[in-house]
């Protein structure tokens, strides 16, 4: 690590804000100068900046580097500083980029074409199905998926990407030494094993505090070429991601939902304001982002449906139905219908949702 990067790392470790860093950077073209320049007081800087520079100069940087790198090695973390080659350009053009990214996994993913997929932590069955489909399609088209590793949509995005051997990035709101939520620790490990990436702007040991989740969202949106919102409540964290996306002038894609569903209130309101973001198919996203689709390999192991099964599919054609409804319409025994439906579910023809409801896929 060169001196310049080391200084940025030190700034990062001492929680220097980007605006102060910008001031320093504008004063000293060569960052290494601040270690050597004689009269710092004449440099025409804020008092607080002079203070921090003084503190930096009193620090033994070799010692600091050794200490930090030992810590990074312990958790197998690779710090990517603002000046590092691996630091993605697209992150530099937002208003408040992180000075240091702490990463675990394949850092080259940061600069690849990617799509952020976000949404509620408590998706409906509709949201689950849609999220699964979009994630798989977009990932198959070669995009890296980005999510926040929270419950719900975030988890589905990571899982489904892994399922089809795609690459995914998880942006965390706390240090990489412990994963939040802890239930997703296993998933985080899987992401790394499958050549994905965990990334955060917080040093190891930093607890995931509430406000950081919102701040984290700016990185989620900035890393993607665009952001896809699957389901979001009226005042949810997802809405902040939507705002960041627009602020950073990235593409925003919003999937419409049932107007009676609370989990779609936020998304529907967004579409109401900006009809242009209305998204119903992954191909539209790929078209807008100008991604050439590599011929997607059909994985559909769809089995030939038998007579009863095709009747069931016919019934489910006009919307989801409960088990009892299908049972009444077909007039067959519950045991027979159970058998048919589970077989169809296994072969990806239908999906069972909450409350014994069945959806056609």
């Amino acid at each position: 690590m060169n001196k310049k990067e080391l200084i940025v790392l030190w700034f990062g470790y001492n929680d220097l804000t980007f605006s102060k860093f910008e001031q320093i950077f504008s004063k000293f073209n060569d960052l290494e100068d601040i270690l050597t320049i004689k009269n710092i007081k004449n440099a025409d800087c804020d008092k607080s900046i002079v203070e921090i520079i003084k503190k930096l100069r009193s620090e033994n940087l070799d010692k600091f580097e050794k200490k930090v790198m030992a810590e990074m090695d312990k958790y197998k973390i690779l710090p990517v500083t603002y000046f590092s080659n691996a630091y993605p350009e697209k992150l530099k053009n937002i208003s408040d980029p992180p000075l240091v990214l702490y990463t675990k996994g394949d850092v080259t993913l940061l600069s690849k074409d990617s799509i952020s997929i976000v949404g509620t932590r408590k998706p409906t069955t509709y949201g689950r199905i849609v999220c699964e489909n979009f994630t798989k399609e977009l990932s198959r088209a070669g995009l890296v998926t980005i999510s926040g590793l929270a419950y719900g949509i975030d988890t589905i995005v990571a899982q489904k990407t892994l399922e089809i051997d795609g690459k995914t990035i998880a942006v965390l709101a706390g240090g990489l030494d412990s994963i939040y939520p802890p239930q997703n620790t296993g998933l985080a490990n899987k992401i790394i094993e499958n050549g994905g990436l965990l990334v955060t702007e917080y040093k190891p040991g930093h607890k995931p505090l509430q406000f950081q989740f919102i701040r984290r969202n700016r990185i989620v949106s900035a890393l993607g070429l665009g952001t896809l919102i699957v389901e979001a409540g009226k005042s949810s964290g997802t809405m902040s991601t939507a705002n960041f996306t627009l602020e950073q002038s990235r593409e925003l894609f919003v999937i419409p939902g049932n107007i009676t569903s609370p989990q779609s209130e936020g998304t529907n309101a967004l579409i109401d304001q900006m009809p242009d973001i209305f998204t119903v198919s992954p191909s539209r996203i790929l078209y807008k982002l100008n991604i050439k689709v590599q011929k997607p390999n059909e994985e559909k192991s769809k089995q030939q449906a038998d007579l009863v099964q095709s009747k069931i599919l016919e019934i489910l054609e006009d919307g989801e139905k409960t088990f009892d409804e299908v049972c009444d319409l077909l007039n067959i025994s519950a045991s027979m219908l159970s058998t048919k439906l589970i077989t169809m579910e296994m072969f990806g023809l239908v999906k069972k949702g909450d409350g014994n409801k069945y959806y056609k896929l």
Binding site: A334, S335, T339
Partner: protein, 508 residues
């Protein structure tokens, strides 16, 4: 003078012979009971004195020593009042003749000399018969209970005077007539499935569960009808066999829960302890190691409503009985084993507010709250539950419709048929139902054809089923095949068994 009367005490379900010895000798008037009596036996001193006096006999004013042998086992309960009184009367020559030696005498005395009912007559008499005793004097209120035991001569008497009359030969008594056991339909008080509208999945799953004795968990929002469905279960449970009835009666007799008028439990028990129940009340225990709810539910249903509300320690204690079908209670006074061969029926909401995943109400819980709620059920416990199903609210149209639902009687016919097949299959193996199959039996009775093999392999990968889950699916499939009357498990049976696994709710 010295006298000896035989009686019987109980330790768990096993009886043991107690010799009640009385010795009256000259000396200062004194009256002492020795031989490890507990408080209730010590109190019998006063009851016996008054009962003798008020029955018109004379209480000796000598030095009286009562010994309950063997002195090494603790004696509990008022069962020994009557033998103590008889031994005192004999030692003071108010009973003549040797007839006393023929009988095992059991009974509690009132101050007026009347004999009161005692607990545990059935297991006591069965144990005593096993040890070769055939003549008994027991309290009159217990006679119905005793009437079901073959090969013994029982006199059920109501007062101390009558007992003395019988022993002196001055009054003639007839011994208790034998009753013939007949199964009783168990749906008298319970709800009928004909009144449960819709809920086809739940009904079918319950039918399978009852047929094969599988444990079942129903997950659904409040008001969906989980409790209603559970209450219908007694109406489709297969009839008791005499052996099962005796087994149940024994436990209920010890616990003092037996209806003395009937004398035998003729319906399968349906126990639903509240979630505030203590561990001891569930498992059994306490001072005299009484059987708990898990034993009282043996051969029947243990219904736990709102499963996550039970304390963790309560739920974890269920693991051994769920696995072994017995519960061992170890106390300072000894170790007791009671049967705990119940079928677990449990219900729960999907989250603290109850509406997670509901299409009618919005759930107000945070994801971590839901996680924590579901986490109250440990993996090992869930592993022992064969069927996990969703129960969803039925909409108004369906509720108010007049469609005829299948009645419990029709369902019960199918259940009985499936049970009969199982009883035939497991003859001489000590188990009655598919749910209790060991892994060896599974490989013997659950052979799969190649198509089923393929299907289960596919499901394995698709749904991440555990090894334990594999066996569970096979057991349930076996029951489904039995309901179908099929000799071999087909791929359809396997598919249906997989359908009742409800894996989604427990992996958010």
């Amino acid at each position: 003078m010295f006298s000896k009367i035989s009686s019987f005490g109980l330790s768990g379900l096993k009886g043991f012979r107690v010799d009640v010895e009385a010795d009256t000798s000259l000396g200062l008037p004194k009256y002492e009971i020795v031989g490890l009596p507990d408080a209730s036996v010590k109190e019998s001193k006063e009851r016996v004195r008054s009962a003798i006096k008020n029955s018109g006999f004379k209480f000796p004013t000598n030095h009286i020593t009562i010994n309950l042998a063997p002195a090494s086992i603790k004696k509990v309960g008022p069962n020994f009042d009557l033998p103590i009184a008889i031994s005192i009367l004999q030692s003071s020559n108010q009973i003549t003749g040797k007839k006393c030696q023929d009988f095992i005498i059991i009974g509690e005395l009132g101050l007026d000399g009347n004999i009161k009912a005692v607990n545990g007559i059935l297991p006591t008499l069965i144990s005593a018969r096993g040890d070769g005793y055939t003549k008994f004097i027991i309290p009159e209120p217990n006679k119905n209970e005793a009437s079901f035991i073959e090969g013994i001569e029982v006199y059920a008497l109501s007062s101390l005077m009558e007992v003395v009359g019988l022993l002196n030969g001055s009054i003639e008594f007839k011994c208790v007539e034998k009753s013939i056991w007949k199964g009783e339909p168990s749906d008298k008080i319970s709800e009928d499935f004909a009144r449960v509208k819709g809920q086809r999945v739940a009904k079918r799953a319950i039918e399978i569960a009852v047929s094969g004795g599988h444990n079942i968990l129903m997950v659904g929002p409040p008001g969906a009808g989980k409790t209603m469905i559970a209450k219908c279960i007694p109406s489709i449970m297969p009839d008791l066999t005499f052996e099962e009835a005796l087994e149940i009666t024994k436990i209920h007799s010890i616990a003092g829960e037996l209806d003395l008028k009937k004398g035998v439990v003729s319906t399968r028990p349906f126990r639903s302890p509240h979630h505030t129940a203590s561990v001891v009340s569930l498992t059994g225990g306490g001072k005299d190691a009484k059987p708990g709810e898990v034993s009282l539910a043996s051969n029947g249903v243990l219904f736990l409503d709102e499963l996550p509300e039970y304390s963790r320690s309560n739920l974890e204690t269920l693991r051994q009985p769920l696995e072994d079908g017995v519960i061992t209670i170890s106390r300072a006074s000894g170790s007791y084993e009671y049967p705990a061969n119940f079928m677990l029926v449990a219900s729960m909401n999907p989250c603290p507010c109850g509406y997670y995943g509901s299409s009618v109400h919005e759930c107000t819980c945070s994801p971590s709250q839901i996680q924590n709620y579901l986490k109250r059920l440990s993996g090992p416990l869930l592993d022992r539950i064969d069927l996990k199903i969703d129960v969803e609210q039925v909409d108004f149209l369906e509720l108010s419709s007049n469609t005829l639902e299948e009645s419990s009687e029709e369902i019960k016919k199918r259940v009985d048929k499936a049970r009969a097949i199982q009883i035939e299959r497991f003859k001489n193996t000590g188990i009655h139902t598919n749910s209790k199959m060991t892994s060896k039996m599974i490989s013997e009775f659950c052979k799969l054809d190649s198509e089923s093999e393929e299907l289960i392999k596919f499901a394995f990968e698709k749904f991440n089923i555990s090894a334990r889950g594999y066996n569970r699916i096979l057991k349930v499939a076996r029951t489904i095949a039995d309901l179908d009357g099929a000799e071999n498990i087909s791929s359809n049976h396997i598919a249906e068994a997989i359908a009742y696994r409800n894996i989604d709710k427990f992996s958010l």
